[in-house]
């Protein structure tokens, strides 16, 4: 009898719960319809084309990939924008890492509610094109001076946003790879602390001299962004490893095999770098802790090293082989497809606002990213900053030798194939020529559907 009673109570409770759920679900739409005048910010009415004169609302996804109070900076920038443009409301949505932001944007696209704007990796171009998710910006750019407008951006940064003669994204938070070195260790090893290695031979030679017990000469990270690190060597030895249309890659050229061998030899032959895969995140702490005398890393770490290193350090362009070279990295502004004309105009206004010379100069100082505009370096702000901290200029000076980051159709797969191949060489389980040949074959297969 008692168990019967219990069962009945449970059923009643469940029934109430179910009813409660469905009741809620049913009530929501009408509720939000009724309240849409008062609480417009909570329920973005995306589908409705707003008549002129009404407020335009933009949703803006952005990731955070470096340290510091970035969300606050972005929120404040959005507030400044809204103060200048009272008829536009921007809702910045922090969406995690770059990868998370991509996943969220994709989910929103499939749910037919894409964001209006997002900052995503510049290398996502072909993926977003294949998803048919983004809008070209040429018409909007043309109104604002066309080529004149684009000319102010460094070409190396624009490269990843352009294909098929169209511009699909505007550079925002960008970076390159530079060489960090510990001046005190240079002195201790009898090297000139004002002269960083300028060639591959010097790099290997210095690294050997700087290696001693408990201290490596050089560290190049090899767990994340391996293909990016590899591109430095490839670009220094020859051409870029993919075509601008993202349909072909050149992994197994003789120059690349030689580049791969050089990277491998730094550990295997010269014994100046740790064996195996080196963690991306621990390389900067190794440098700060004095466990390595030199490191290859993103300029995004400049502020971190500056604040934490207890020794005098130098920043230099990457040493050259046949020429100087580095890939660019970082995120661009994208505009999504299927938004109304009013929103397009508003979104473009916001992009322009965010990339104004003064503002992007301040953004660069706050974060350590390289400002993507030439005129940003002519602002007073930037001039006084680089005077105080000349290392910030190295990345910009290197830009004249920089090229696009690896970005192709089926990009996730292709870069994974390549990264696995590089790791297999660095851990000694495969030789350079075989690994790169295999990667080339697999990448060709992954790209085959796009070469029909």
């Amino acid at each position: 009898m008692r168990s019967m009673m219990k069962a009945l109570i449970v059923i009643c409770a469940c029934a109430m719960f179910v009813v409660g759920c469905s009741g809620n679900g049913g009530a929501k739409p009408s509720e939000s319809n009724a309240g849409s005048n008062g609480t417009a910010t909570q329920t973005p009415a995306k589908e409705t084309d707003k008549p002129a004169g009404e407020k335009v609302e933009l949703s803006f996804y952005y990731p955070v990939a470096v340290g510091g109070p970035i969300t606050e900076v972005i929120e404040n920038m959005a507030k400044d924008f809204m103060a200048e443009n009272p008829d536009i409301t921007v809702k910045p949505v922090y969406t995690g890492s770059y990868a998370d932001t991509m996943v969220k944007a994709q989910a929103a696209i499939q749910g037919k509610t894409p964001p209006d704007l997002a900052v995503l990796l510049s290398t996502e171009l072909f993926t977003l094109l294949d998803m048919d998710a983004i809008e070209p910006l040429d018409e909007l750019i043309a109104v604002d001076g066309g080529d004149e407008y684009l000319k102010d951006f460094y070409p190396a940064f624009l490269a990843n946003g352009q294909t098929d003669g169209k511009t699909w994204s505007i550079p925002f938070q960008r970076s390159t790879i530079v060489l960090f070195y510990n001046k005190e260790m240079f002195k201790a090893a009898g090297l000139d602390p004002e002269k960083a290695p300028a060639t591959w031979e010097e790099l290997a030679d210095y690294a050997k001299k700087l290696t001693k017990d408990g201290q490596w000469g050089l560290e190049i990270p090899s767990t994340g962004f391996l293909y990016w690190m590899f591109q430095t060597f490839a670009l220094q030895s020859g051409d870029n490893i993919m075509t601008q249309d993202g349909k072909k890659v050149f992994f197994d050229t003789p120059e690349n095999v030689q580049s791969m061998q050089f990277w491998r030899d730094l550990a295997a032959v010269h014994k100046a770098m740790p064996e195996g895969a080196i963690e991306w995140g621990t390389v900067p702490s190794d440098f700060i802790e004095g466990k390595t005398a030199m490191m290859y890393h993103t300029t995004g770490n400049l502020t971190n090293v500056k604040n934490n290193a207890k020794f005098d350090f130098g920043v230099a362009m990457l040493p050259k082989n046949k020429q100087y070279g580095t890939p660019t990295g970082g995120g661009n502004f994208y505009m999504f497809k299927g938004i109304s004309e009013a929103k397009k105009q508003a979104a473009w206004k916001f992009i322009k606002f965010m990339t104004e010379s003064e503002r992007i100069a301040q953004w660069s100082i706050d974060t350590g990213y390289v400002a993507p505009r030439i005129s940003a370096y002519e602002t007073d702000k930037m001039k006084s900053y680089v005077q105080e901290f000349p290392a910030a200029l190295v990345a910009r000076d290197q830009l004249q030798y920089a090229s696009a980051e690896l970005s192709t159709h089926n990009n996730g797969k292709v870069s994974k194939i390549f990264s696995d191949a590089i790791q297999s060489v660095l851990t000694g389980s495969s030789d350079s020529a075989t690994a790169l040949k295999k990667a080339q074959e697999e990448a060709d297969k992954a790209l085959a559907p796009f070469n029909k």
Binding site: I11, F17, S222
Partner: protein, 298 residues
């Protein structure tokens, strides 16, 4: 007449049972069976970046999966990961539970110490162990240094990385399983031990004849949890290795995520998901129907 009445009564009973099951059935249907069916269907389609409109390709996804060397490596890794973590963590948790059950002083401290890794989120554990395994100045390397041994690059060497992961997961899991064993131990009647003591039965025999058999239901439960966890726990890979070097620490679920959200190949990701579901179902079936009969339930 009689038959009809009985049938009606049976139907009533059944309807009552179904009514009781309804709430959980709804959740099972909406959040488990429906997505599983969706994955099953999508696995027969080519749905990747190269094909804007998904097209039916039958079993082609499974065929190319069979040819994918990374897939086989990942499956192989996962099997070793399971072999490495399941028996070890069960054994360790049993020992910990017996110790925590016997210990007289600082009982709370012992139990907390054993249990706390369970409370820490996997991402935090990944970060902590990343430091522990760091070459040169990580904890393990420092410790080995005192003996004059130069520690290896744990996470950067393909042959070592899986061991490093297994040790970490055993450390995290054992405390959780200990909790179940502790409950199991306290359910065993003290009288059994007393009579064994009166008969002068040696300790190891007591363990094999009383403790171990009476704990079998717990062991079955724990082993299922441990086995499914060895397929479910992948958070640490994000922090520590991204599946590298050279896929040496990559696991099936992580590979599914990569395929779905980095390669954007939804058809293949669904096919991989289907394989994983089948694998888990088979394992659960073996455990339930194989071991269950030989377990002594009170």
């Amino acid at each position: 007449m009689k038959m009809a009445a009985r049938r009606r009564r049976a139907w009533k009973m059944n309807a009552f049972a179904w009514l009781l099951l309804l709430p959980s059935l709804i959740f099972l249907l909406v959040f488990t069976l429906y997505p599983v069916a969706g994955a099953l269907k999508l696995s027969l389609f080519q749905a990747d970046l190269g094909t804007p409109q998904p097209s039916f390709i039958g079993l082609d996804n499974y065929k190319s999966m069979a040819e994918d060397s990374v897939f086989w490596k990942v499956v192989n890794n996962n099997i070793w990961f399971a072999i490495g973590t399941v028996p070890t963590s069960i054994l360790l948790s049993l020992l910990m539970a017996m110790f925590a059950n016997k210990v007289m002083r600082a009982r709370g401290l012992v139990r907390t110490a054993f249990f706390y890794p369970t409370v820490v989120p996997m991402i935090a554990i990944g970060n902590i162990w990343l430091f522990i395994y760091t070459p040169e100045y990580g904890m393990v390397s420092r410790f080995l240094e005192t003996f004059g041994i130069k520690g290896p690059n744990w996470l950067g060497t393909p042959d070592l990385v899986m061991w490093a992961m297994i040790i970490m997961i055993v450390w995290k899991e054992a405390g959780y399983f200990m909790l179940f064993y502790l409950a199991g131990l306290q359910n065993i009647s003290e009288e059994l031990y007393e009579s064994a003591r009166v008969d002068g039965v040696p300790a190891w025999r007591v363990f094999w004849r009383i403790t171990f058999p009476l704990l079998m239901p717990t062991t079955l439960f724990v082993s299922i949890i441990a086995l499914t966890n060895s397929f479910k726990l992948v958070d640490h890979l994000w922090i520590m290795t991204k599946g590298g070097p050279e896929n040496a620490s990559n696991l099936l679920l992580f590979y599914i995520y990569e395929t779905a959200f980095s390669f954007w190949d939804q058809g293949m990701a669904s096919a991989l998901t289907t394989v994983m579901i089948i694998l888990l179902l088979v394992l659960a079936a073996i455990q339930f129907f194989g071991f269950d009969r030989r377990i002594h339930y009170r």
